[in-house]
Amino acid sequence: MERRPIRRLLTALGLLGLCASAQAVTTAKDVQTFTLDNGMKFLVLEDHSIPNANFYLFWKVGSRNEYPGITGLSHFFEHMMFNGAKKYGPKQFDRVMEANGGANNAYTTNDVTVYTDWFPASALETIFDLEADRIADLNLDDKMVESERGVVASERTTGLENSPWRTLGEEVDGMAFRAHPYSWPVIGHESDIQGWKKSDLQAYFDTYYAPNNAVAIVVGAVKVAEVKRLAKQYFEPIPAAEPPRAIHTVEPEQKGERRVFVEKASIRAPHLLIGYKTPASNHPDYYALDMLTTILAEGNSSRLYKALVDSGLATMAGAGYEEHFDPYLMQFYVVAAGEGKTAQIESVLYGEIDKLIKDGVSKEEVQKARSQKLMRFYKQLETINGKANTLGTYEVFFGDFKKMFEAPKAYEAVTAADIQRVAAEYLKKSRRTVGILAAKEE
């Protein structure tokens, strides 16, 4: 969920293959870090390619920290962070930022809430002032809370109106998870969006928006010493808080295939979303699973493209395995080429998976997956925003930004046998949830 209707791909941060040899490209040593007395950590990367900079703030809070009754609050909170604090009242955060040549956005996932500011480097201090004000002294204005409820209701509706995947994804998550908070959509249930109270928001702010629960990343035409000086001046006075309680709920083991059907009259061809329970990002099998996803579905020479799209059964086939703190899903997305084909599509998809489990993958496929990740890595390094987002994601999900630079070795270490093993272990019928969206149930 994003604050603004910008179509932005959350870069699945897989990356890398064999970039160790590349020179002139950013390395771990170029990234400077420091931690303020209140526990707020900063990563700074000087990059003078353009006279601009950015400020990314990763908060370790997302819909996974909610409970029934306040679902969607993390995302709603993301919106409220723009609606006024002590020094800069309602609307002033955006007005001051834009008048200084800057823009911003934010996104919320199941696991994190990320705020992003982009600006001419000369506006650095203004950005620190704005960010520190809302973190230290957010003011939850009653009128703004009510109008923002309408905004989020519209965000939810427009997603359901325009995106079949949003509609279907909510149902698949709800079916796959019955105990863990990944069960509900990031945007929340409609009745919760209408029902939560200002006191719920205040409690959320007090619990999660303490500097020790955040990582800040600054990339661009800045000086590390200056960033440090500003960080101490603006952020260090903000007190730390008791760390939030850990999420202890573990989704009970799934014992058999689950299925869900969703009907929507205007759907012109069935959509299938099939998710298999897979481990969290910090699991040793992460890299092998990421390579497996690529081999199955990235590019026109991938197995699923050939078997499903090239064959005429589907108009698109894709797969995703994204970063999560807790075990989530490897997901397969397929749009059927017309009615009456879903059973065959499922059977072909499972057949491809079984074939991979039985016969393994070729050396060439392993090489191909590494190249595709290397290319993605370089593409992320082309922009200061790509650098900031990737550094932050590694720091938060993998525990250390340096792992971004060590990932090449991690991908190199993945063997064809590893990929075959993780396919066999995780892509089992008993771990899967099948969702189908169509105008009519077949």
Binding site: A123, A153, T157, L160, S266, E298, Q372, N385
Partner: protein, 466 residues
């Protein structure tokens, strides 16, 4: 994609700083081969990537009656060539993590290759053969066509994907600028390799094309490679069809009254709408200044429209406005979406906010903020090799020099308050506005009639204009 409203001048002066971001398009070399192919070279070393883009005057305005043929032809370039089968091409590209894609928009078609510099020897010949010697295998073209047919119907699941087609249909009735880029089911259904090859022969011509290379390479080597690959490219002789497609002028229909095209989507849970009229062509001397005016009206989060419709009233997730400026002409529109029940409220608020251009005008603080905003966010638009190739493609398409391109920031800086208000009132359509509403017609039909003469069309119908 963001909206806002009036700034409190006092609050602003206190905090706004000088915006110092500056940018000019990096130096590049431009030359022509004997066959007329224009080449743009811009070496860039930050990452070891090469981005190659061939820009062709082969967009949907050249479709004729075969709506969608430009798009299908571009797509079909990658189905195999003289030296590489489709399978070989795809395997070679994927093995190196490279990208090879081709597509058409309204005014042009482009073929793009992006790869690691070390893979030049493997990918360049594939790119060249796809452009010069496409095989258009009949079975693969048919498969692709069938997939595109499916996708045409899928697009209608999402109002946002199709609303622009309806608006162009309304504004450019009878003109090639109303052509739906991906075509219609009835026209695409009839296409085969013969039609694709015919379009290719007519419109894939070196004299009107540009080859753009941005990234990590040696210019001397690249020039030689380009000469070898494209020096002998002659193309067919110019035909009447390709000549007429080269510079059509996009003249919107003369509107004598406000009109509403009501597109019925019976299961809609919200209403999506466009409100607009004629705009300006991309090369219009006022275009640069108009981007600042649009920023104020509906081009950023604090723009008038977003501030009213989203921030103040919670009616929508986002409201904005845009100039769609093309080579042959242009359009302007406001757009947003809202829950069915709020349709009238949202349209009324959009209209009254828009009328402030005439009733109230832009004030100095807002103009100054918008200029700072546009300037401050300008350099990041040109960070990647792909961004720079896009900019060079624009130079080619609109016949702009680097100096004209780099005039942008100076034009923004020079815009005075009087001129901003005068240009806004001169170029924005004030009345006889044209509406497209996509939603549940049974529930919003009466509301629609308030704004103009209503015509209704079902979203499932295979057309975008009456």
């Amino acid at each position: 994609m963001k909206p806002l409203r009036l700034l409190a001048a006092a609050a602003l002066t206190a905090v706004s700083g000088m915006v110092s971001a500056a940018f000019e398009l990096p130096a590049h070399e431009r030359y022509q081969l004997d066959n007329g192919l224009t080449v743009y070279l811009m070496p860039q070393k930050e990452v070891p990537l090469v981005h190659v883009r061939l820009e062709l005057a082969a967009g949907a305005i050249a479709d004729g009656k075969e709506h969608g043929i430009a798009a299908l032809t571009a797509d079909s370039l990658l189905l195999g060539s003289k030296q590489y089968s489709k399978g070989e091409l795809e395997a070679a590209v994927d093995l190196r993590g490279a990208t090879l894609r081709a597509n058409a928009d309204l005014e042009s078609a482009h073929v793009v290759a992006e790869y690691l510099d070390k893979d030049n020897a493997a990918i360049w010949p594939i790119f060249v053969d796809a452009v010069r010697n496409p095989a258009f295998p009949a079975d693969e073209v048919s498969k692709l066509r069938d997939r595109r047919l499916q996708e045409l119907t899928l697009a209608k699941q999402s109002p946002r994907q199709v609303i622009d087609n309806y608006f162009r249909g309304l504004m450019y009735t009878g003109s090639v600028y109303a052509n739906p880029v991906t075509g219609l089911e009835s026209t695409v259904k009839a296409m085969d390799r013969t039609a694709v090859e015919r379009f290719y022969r007519q419109h894939y011509q070196p004299h009107s094309a540009a080859l753009i290379v941005v990234g990590d390479y040696d210019s001397k080597v690249m020039k030689k490679q380009i000469q070898q690959a494209f020096g002998s490219w002659r193309g067919e002789r110019k035909t009447a069809a390709s000549e007429s497609a080269a510079v059509p002028v996009a003249v919107p229909v003369t509107v004598s009254e406000a009109r509403v095209l009501l597109v019925d989507k019976p299961d809609a849970i919200e209403t999506t709408f466009y409100i607009g009229g004629a705009g300006v062509a991309r090369k219009h001397p006022d275009y640069n200044a108009l981007t600042v005016i649009n920023t104020i009206l509906g081009g950023r989060f604090t723009s008038w429209l977003n501030d009213e419709l989203r921030v103040n009233s919670g009616l929508t997730y986002g409201a904005r406005s845009q100039f769609n400026a093309m080579r042959g002409g242009g359009l302007f529109n406001i757009t947003t979406f809202t829950a069915k029940a709020n349709t009238e409220k949202a349209i009324d608020l959009a209209l009254s906010t828009y009328q402030r251009i005439w009733t109230q005008g832009i004030d100095e603080a807002t103009l100054s903020s918008a200029k700072a905003y546009v300037k401050g966010l300008y350099p990041p638009k040109f960070e990647t090799a792909a961004d720079l190739a896009d900019a060079l493609a624009m130079l080619h398409q609109y016949g702009m020099s680097k100096a004209e391109f780099d005039q942008y920031l100076a034009d923004v800086e020079a815009l005075t308050l009087d001129r901003a208000n005068a240009l806004a009132r001169q170029h924005l359509p004030k009345d006889k506005l044209q509406f497209v509403l996509i939603g549940n017609a049974a529930e919003i039909g009466a509301v629609a009639a308030k704004y103009g003469k209503v015509s209704q069309i079902d979203i499932q119908q295979d057309r975008f204009q009456l």
